[in-house]
Structure formats: structure tokens, C-alpha cells
């Protein structure tokens, strides 16, 4: 496996009128070629912000990248730090090397532009094909993502498509230039479950076909289990646990992850039991983090959790946790 993306110590703050929002605190993770990394976490945990910032899609100001680097290895030449690219540099990466699938396909597609032109636009831009060739390729792509009557649909407008079809078009847009990475920002949230499954399957197919690494941002642990190779769990702007999907489900190490797993509805339950939940609410991101952000809600919190910010500790192969507490043995970790 070769690394395609390596994010290190990413810190992002939003300087708003009301104060500083600590959106991302020290986020680090790697992405391998062709793998699927799921980023899960509740609203405001920094899932989208971390990925949008890589492509300079955050409005700056108010957002400001305070620290960190994001090396992208998909270029032919040297690895580049995405965060340090200038405008024309990042334009070549966007769409060409890294695609983006947005949550709401209806608003992400231009209402007065035909579907065909919106897809061929990036093909012309990045692959330098002629309009006629780009059109043929676009029609091929539309067929590939399962749009019946692709040639006819080329001239249709977004409102003439159903929600699932629009998301298929979004996938076609994002994969038009066979990028190295596709970032999917909650692409199935607005869809019903059967269509969700189709979209997930389609993404997996195309991913395998073109060897694309997919970053799947979601809060649906069910989708994660079905498609992710590895999972990054985020909480209040900090990564709390990174593990292979199977490890994460069978052996969660962070109290927050454990809480999430317990909160999953269980089909084998006796039917009378209530769904488990994690007490409390996420912290106010306006307050500067001085200790573990989960301490307020953590059943295992002890003195140290209120004094320091936990660093990422490896607890197994490809398994990293930011916690002072050893959940398995029920006592504070000693060697941290």
C-alpha cells in the first residue's frame, strides 16, 4: 500500500464576530491508495471542515489554517502540501486529482446549466479534450453511473432528475477525470435507504475500477460498516480514534467510540429496552480546548483528563486512540 495523502497536525480556527471557534484541533491521518476512509462524528465535529480545507474550499476569512500540512502524493513529481498551494495550483488538484461529492446534489448542480455541460466542463478543463470528445466521454460516464438514455439526458437540467439520479450525476462529476481521491461529504444523507445502498454500491464499483481512494464523511455507522476499510472518529474537532473498520466495531478503545457503539439500535434486543445514549452535550467550540474535549461526558474521566490534552497513542496495528484511560483494563494508561 502506498500513501496518497498525509494530513499532519491540522489546526483550523474560525475568527467570527462572536469569538474564535476552534473547529479543528491537531488532526492527523493518512490515506492509502484505493482505500476507503470513513470519517464519522456528530455535527460540528469537524468532519467536513477538515476535508474542505484541503481543497481551499473554506471561506477564508473567517476560517484560518493555524497549523498543519497535508501532503498529497498523487502528482507525478514531488509530493505537494495542499495547504500551501496557490490558486492555480489548487485548481489543478480540484477535480483533476481530488474529486468532491456534496451532500445536497440539487444545490451543488447549477440550475441553469445542462447536466452534460457540468460534467464535460471539468473534462475539458483537466484532460484538455475537445468539446465533441468531452461530450462523448460525458455520455459514457452518464451511462456508467446508471443514467438511462444518457445521450438524451445530456441536455437535461438538474431539476429534471430525481434525487438519486442527481447524486449519480454528482458522482460522475467528481470522477470525470479519474482522480486519485474522492471526498464524499455525506452523499447519502438526503436519500432514502434503498437509493443510499445503490449510491454506496456505485461508489464502490467505480472506486475499484479506477483505484480511487474514497474519504466518506458520514454520521451513519451502518454505512461505514458496509464500505469503509478504516474509520476516523472525530469529536469536537479532535480525532479520537483511528482504526480498521473491523477493529473499531469489535474492539473500540475510546470511551466516545464505545458510547457510539452502545447507542446503535440492536436487532436482538428484547424490544422493551431503551436506546443507550451518551450523557451530556458536545462542548462549546468557542472555548479553547485545554483538556480532553470528551471529559465532560466521559464515564472514565479522572484528574489527568481535566489537565492535559491527550495525544494519539497506538494501541494495536493501525489502531490509534487519543485517551489517557485504558478501557480494557479499567485503569489509567501508564506509559502515556
Amino acid at each position: 500500500m502506498t500513501k496518497i495523502l498525509s494530513v499532519k497536525n491540522l489546526v483550523i480556527k474560525f475568527y467570527t464576530f462572536d469569538g474564535v471557534v476552534h473547529a479543528l484541533n491537531n488532526v492527523s491521518f493518512d490515506l492509502e491508495e484505493g482505500e476507503t476512509l470513513a470519517i464519522v462524528g456528530e455535527s460540528g465535529s469537524g468532519k467536513s471542515v477538515s476535508m474542505l480545507s484541503l481543497l481551499h474550499l473554506l471561506p477564508m476569512p473567517p476560517a484560518k489554517i493555524e497549523n498543519g500540512e497535508a501532503y498529497f502524493y498523487g502528482n507525478e513529481e514531488e509530493p505537494v502540501d495542499l495547504l500551501k498551494l496557490n490558486r492555480s495550483g489548487i485548481s489543478k488538484i480540484r477535480g483533476g486529482k481530488i474529486g468532491f461529492i456534496f451532500q445536497d446534489a440539487l444545490s451543488a448542480l447549477n440550475p441553469v446549466m445542462t447536466i452534460g455541460r457540468q460534467i464535460s466542463e471539468s473534462i475539458i478543463e483537466h484532460l484538455g479534450l475537445s468539446h465533441a470528445k468531452a461530450k462523448e466521454k460525458t455520455i459514457e460516464l452518464l451511462k456508467r453511473v446508471g443514467i438511462p438514455g444518457a445521450r438524451q439526458r445530456y441536455d437535461n437540467f438538474p431539476h429534471q432528475f430525481s434525487g438519486g439520479m442527481r447524486q449519480r450525476v454528482m458522482i460522475a462529476v467528481s470522477m470525470a477525470c479519474t482522480p486519485k481521491i474522492v471526498i464524499a461529504d455525506e452523499p447519502t444523507t438526503a436519500l432514502d435507504v434503498t437509493v443510499q445502498a445503490q449510491i454506496v454500491d456505485l461508489t464502490k464499483e467505480l472506486q475499484k475500477e479506477f483505484n480511487i481512494a474514497v474519504v466518506w464523511i458520514t454520521h451513519d455507522l451502518g454505512v461505514v460498516a458496509g464500505m469503509a476499510d478504516r474509520v476516523l472518529v472525530m469529536y469536537a474537532g479532535s480525532p479520537v480514534e483511528i482504526a480498521n473498520a473491523q477493529d473499531l466495531y469489535s474492539n473500540p478503545q475510546h470511551p466516545y467510540t464505545i458510547g457510539l457503539m452502545n447507542a446503535l439500535p440492536n436487532v436482538k434486543g428484547d424490544g422493551d429496552s431503551r436506546l443507550a445514549s451518551i450523557d451530556g452535550i458536545p462542548p462549546d467550540l468557542m472555548d479553547e480546548p485545554r483538556h480532553c474535549q470528551f471529559a465532560w461526558r466521559c464515564p472514565h474521566a479522572f484528574d489527568r483528563c481535566w489537565e492535559e490534552i491527550p495525544q494519539q497513542v497506538s494501541v494495536g496495528e493501525n489502531h490509534v486512540v487519543s485517551c489517557f484511560f485504558d478501557v480494557e483494563n479499567g485503569r489509567p494508561k501508564e506509559n502515556v
Binding site: L55, L57, R87, S88, S91, K92, I93, R94, G95, G96, G99, F100, F102, D104, L106, S107, A108, L109, N110, P111, V112, M113, E121, S122, E125, H126, E140, L141, K143, R144, V145, G146, I147, P148, G149, A150, R151, Q152, D155, F157, H159, Q160, M170, V173, S174, A176, Q198, D201, L202, E205
Partner: protein
């Protein structure tokens, strides 16, 4: 990517379709027009006025400037004293009303068209820059725009017109430049809304440059509202030109224009009412036609509204 690929995820078969030509598109436009009778009426009215302006020399029975005091103030054909030699009668100098109205359409349409062209194109560019660049540039431009919009429009126009003097070019320039702020402001507002929209973010995410986003994503979204406003502005300019003519500040008296005719007719309003009535009706006809057509355009230019069945 096989041609006859069957999609695993849906199982639906992909079928090949033939491309459509230009003819179905024309039929489509006709259907859009046929559906909205008011729009069709508006377009017809506008086309009549436009044809009148273009073919004036062939349509007009007399030279609009030829005076014939023998038949001065002759009533229109429908009244007892009138006859078919002058269908709409003659004015105080014996000039044929119908011919003058036909030639007058040239002034009105020229002023309306070029006035809107100047105001629309410059206003749009200024608005685009203001909205997309933002910051100090935006504050500066919008400050100027608000200052101009704060002036009472008619007084402002009359003031400039009286300084510049009477000529067709002056009238066009006055209406062209004084209407820039309206277009600039509307464009800016739309740009501000559109630049935050999802599809702009999405276009950014596929590597579109800022120029490309501005011209191929934001601009097409603006055209609908702008063209609609342009039609209303055009009828507004035709009204104001007539107003200026009425005040004796539009084109020179030698040029037949509806405003000038109204001004002449005012003196005889109680005795020879047709001298003011017919140019007035011509103005109403043109204005109504353009407004109806503008409404239709607004519905049609938005692909989402176009779809709505009525």
C-alpha cells in the same frame, strides 16, 4: 466503460438515443409561447411596434413632416367630419397623425433599446465586479450607486437634459447612464446570493477558475432576471422619453416622437383631443406589450418555472 454496460447497482439497462436537431427546439419555443396567451399577445404587440419602426417609410401614408394647413386639425376617420384621407386625423399644422405615430415609434424604440443596452451592459459589468470582488471595491461602487439612486429620478434627468440640449443621442445617453445603478444593484445582489450557492462551491471543487465561475456559472443564472428587468426598464424609458418630450427636452421638434406629439396635443386637448390621444395610446400599447412579454420571458428563462404546467 462498455457501451452496452448493464449497471450492476441498479440493474437498469442503458439505451442508446438519437440526438435531436434544431427543429424540435423551435417547436418547443412555440409551445412555450402558445401556453401563455398573455405573453404571446405581448410579443405580438412588441413585434407590431418593432415592424412599424423598421418599415416606417413603407407604412406611413404621408411624409410625417409635411404640413398642409388646408387640412389642419382634421378629425379622425371615425368622426363625422373626418374622412379616410387621414385615418387618425391631422395635427395643428395639418401633418398626418398616423404617419407621425408610425415614425414616432422609431424614436421610442431607439431610445428604449440603446438606453437599455448601455444601462444593462455597463450596469451588469459594474454589478458583477462589485459583487464578486467585494471588499473595498464593493463599498466604493455601491456608495456611488446609492448616491445616484438617492436623487429624485425625473428631476435629475430633466436637469441633465436641459444642460445637454435636445438630441436623440443625448436622450439615449441620459437614459443609458442614469439607469446603470439599477442594473448594477440588482446584478450585485444576485451575485452575492449566487457566489455562496452550492453549485459555485461544486464548480470550485472541480477546478474551475474564478473567471470561469463568474462567466459560465454565475452569469447564466443572472440573465433571466436581468433580461426581465431590461424589458420593464425599456418600457420605463419609453415612458420617460415621452415625458421628456412633453416637457420639450427630448428630441428636437422636427423629429416626430410620441412625447413631442403629446406636448403639441396638450394645448388642444379639450377641442381637438385626438392630437394627444393617439400618441398616448401608442405609448400605452408599446409599454403594455413589453411588460407582458417581459413576464413571459421571466417564466421561460428559468428552467424550473418553465416546467410548471398551467
Amino acid at each position: 466503460m462498455g457501451n452496452e454496460a448493464t449497471i450492476k447497482s441498479t440493474g437498469s439497462r442503458v439505451d442508446e438515443e438519437v440526438e435531436r436537431g434544431i427543429w424540435p427546439k423551435l417547436v418547443y419555443v412555440w409551445r412555450l409561447l402558445y401556453r401563455d396567451k398573455a405573453g404571446m399577445l405581448g410579443l405580438a404587440m412588441f413585434l407590431i411596434v418593432a415592424a412599424t419602426a423598421v418599415f416606417s417609410p413603407w407604412l406611413a401614408p404621408y411624409d410625417p413632416l409635411k404640413q398642409d394647413l388646408m387640412v389642419a386639425k382634421q378629425p379622425p376617420a371615425y368622426s363625422e367630419k373626418g374622412d379616410m384621407s387621414h385615418v387618425l386625423g391631422t395635427d395643428n399644422l395639418g401633418r398626418d397623425m398616423l404617419s407621425r405615430i408610425i415614425y414616432g415609434s422609431r424614436v421610442s424604440l431607439t431610445v428604449g433599446f440603446f438606453g437599455v443596452l448601455i444601462a444593462g451592459s455597463l450596469g451588469m459589468i459594474i454589478g458583477l465586479i462589485s459583487g464578486y470582488v467585494g471588499g473595498r471595491v464593493d463599498s466604493f461602487i455601491m456608495g456611488g450607486v446609492n448616491m445616484i439612486l438617492a436623487l429624485p429620478y425625473l428631476v435629475f434627468v430633466v436637469f441633465i437634459a436641459s444642460i445637454l440640449g435636445r438630441s436623440l443621442l443625448n436622450v439615449i445617453l441620459i437614459f443609458g447612464f442614469t439607469n446603470i445603478p439599477i442594473f448594477a444593484r440588482i446584478t450585485r445582489g444576485e451575485v452575492l446570493r449566487l457566489r455562496e450557492s452550492g453549485f459555485v462551491e461544486s464548480a470550485l471543487s472541480i477546478g474551475a477558475t474564478r473567471t470561469r465561475i463568474l462567466f459560465s456559472h454565475i452569469l447564466p443564472n443572472l440573465l433571466g432576471p436581468l433580461i426581465t428587468i431590461a424589458t420593464f426598464e425599456m418600457s420605463g424609458m419609453i415612458f420617460y422619453e415621452a415625458g421628456l418630450g412633453f416637457l420639450g427636452l427630448s428630441v428636437p421638434p422636427s423629429t416626430p416622437s410620441w412625447g413631442n406629439m403629446l406636448a403639441t396635443g396638450r394645448q388642444y386637448l379639450t377641442i381637438y383631443p385626438w392630437i394627444a390621444t393617439f400618441p398616448g395610446l401608442a405609448i400605452v400599447f408599446t409599454g403594455l406589450g413589453m411588460n407582458l412579454f417581459g413576464d413571459w420571458l421571466r417564466d421561460v428563462l428559468d428552467p424550473r418555472l418553465r416546467r410548471t404546467k398551467r
